[in-house]
Symmetry: C2
Subunit: 343 residues, 2 copies
């Protein structure tokens, strides 16, 4: 091994993946899309599988102080299904691997799997495998989601956005992030004085968006029903800025977003202001909303107008024009990727 | 959550998986085989994917004191490919997810991925995705392997063994376990006196079987070439006893194994005796050999006779006769599953 020691922070998650997977050789004709989208695409002979995987680590992605195990199992599955929907494919199977320390009981695992099963039942996917093992400390959940499809024509990548396309989202943004801030605040209050019982009843929406998010199945169903194939798509896991940037980069285009059109739930707005945060910033940089960010050709505009829950938030422009936010005050800001950096 | 607290040790890994996945509903017709074999089988329309996943946890499955990162990356991929070969399918793609604490550098990750790539190149599989994230402590690697096939007829399950079938293994057993004992002993010696440099040169075979195992690709290739489809198969990851038990249970049969026919490498024998262990016990209970354990119909006996590296070790009998070992001394012992219990 080289003597050099580069801290992983210097590269960040995306830089790290780029760095490490550089120079990978491809051996199989059946590998149609590898690393670099929400999911990989493999297959041949008119049958294809879209595959995505994610790892959730205790103390990094979730905090056991405020995450019910059932919600955690549910969320671990949902965030992976979201990646499959982001390819415009319905998920069909999942594998779930769990490593747990011996501080967890069989009953705790049952709770976790109750959440896994609930997500499987709700989204019509089958749990087909996994691994259960021990860890010296904490819990790690690794989920792989699979979506089988016989039509490659309808698979949507990040790379298909064209100048003039309309930028849309399938629902409101920023709530999951605001929910996390609320949970963290209440945790600190509780740690300082454990006689306090947090009352979340006024903020059920943002709490649920954080602890028990849903994948945008309704949007997928609508696309199918209306025979609409977005030109590009991904799910919003890192925040609108960062994820819009991914689409722009993959498609070789720019985009402008209208600040005033970014959908925010009233509860997110109210609570963001209570935390002295700009609600739009929460939407741009928050992440974990698992709504779909997608672009459609101008001729599909009418179909989007009737899409329940969807919002038109901007337009695809030429690459040289970059990624810009038109503020309600009439200014133009350049947007930077500000996704999560877990290292 | 219920007030009851059952320790996961009470159930063990297999009991736990049975317990937790009981009552799972199936939603998709494309799920052809779910939990309970080396890999799941999904697909439709003449194209199928065989899928398996495994998680390796630092401090449980590997010890950084004697595991070179490149070997670790290689092994993490290989143990998953082994599960695909165990279904009589060639693996085609893998995803690799890694959680690491910040004590690992970019250079360390590069070493690990160099091993991943080496395994991908050697076995002709493509790295199509994964996740790289941080962990509060230690390293966790989760790999999912996929094998695409257009022929369901040649997929081999654990459940097809029939009375009268011949029991075979693709290579010698027990070496990986003996190698682990050696590494553990040298580690203890080093911890007691760090001026000692361990000399493994006389025991390269067992060390390599532990640190850099290979999947039984040659056996898969031979089956294909000779148009031989085993009646049942699995890979030996938990030890011959435990894995033979899995085949017997899944097939509703018994088996007898001939002690004198269980293949042992000279180095394994010599070293086992040095450790005051019975070499056959190492083969029966050791695990991690990643050879294939398979059964063939009596009419295929000739094909097996010419199979390089393969050994005939017993016969499938009726269920009521159980799983027995005929010792070289002429005694008959009942075998019990003694696989690894990580909890």
């Amino acid at each position: 091994m080289s003597e050099k020691r580069t801290d992983v922070n210097e590269l960040g998650e995306f830089g790290l993946i780029d760095h490490i997977t550089r120079g990978n050789k491809q051996h199989q004709k059946s590998t149609l899309r590898g690393i670099g989208d929400d999911a990989a695409v493999v297959g041949q002979g008119g049958q294809y599988a879209v595959i995505s995987t994610d790892m959730l680590v205790e103390g990094i992605h979730f905090d056991m102080m405020y995450t019910p195990l059932k919600h955690l199992g549910y969320k671990a599955v949902v965030v992976n299904l979201s990646d499959i929907y982001a390819m415009n494919v319905a998920p069909t199977q999942v594998t779930v691997s769990i490593a747990i320390s011996n501080r967890y009981s069989v009953e705790a695992l049952e709770e976790l799997y109750a959440g896994v099963k609930k997500a499987c039942d709700f989204y019509n996917v089958d749990l087909i495998g996994g691994d259960t093992t021990s860890s010296p400390k904490g819990m790690i959940i690794s989920v792989t989601a699979i979506g089988l499809t016989d039509s490659l024509d309808k698979v949507v990548y990040r790379s298909g956005a064209k100048v003039g396309d309309i930028v849309c989202v399938s629902g409101d943004l920023g709530a999951a992030y605001v929910g996390l801030q609320l949970l963290e605040r209440e945790k600190q209050l509780y740690l300082n004085d454990n006689t306090i019982t947090p009352d979340f009843s006024s903020y059920q929406y943002v709490i649920e968006r954080q602890l028990k998010p849903e994948a945008a199945k309704a949007a997928y169903d609508y696309f199918k029903r209306s025979d609409l194939v977005p030109s590009s798509m991904m799910d919003i896991s890192d925040g609108l800025s960062s994820d819009m940037m991914h689409i722009c980069k993959a498609s070789g285009v720019g985009a402008y977003l209208e600040e005033g059109k970014i959908p925010l739930h009233p509860e997110s707005k109210e609570l963001a202001l209570e935390f002295n945060m700009d609600p739009v910033t929460c939407a741009l940089s928050g992440g974990e909303d698992y709504e779909l960010l997608f672009t459609v050709a101008p001729e599909d505009l009418d179909k989007i107008r009737f899409m329940p829950g969807a919002y038109i938030i901007g337009e695809i422009v030429e690459r040289k024009d970059g990624l810009k936010l038109h503020t309600t005050g009439g200014n133009i800001h350049e947007l930077k990727a500000q996704g999560w950096n877990h290292f």
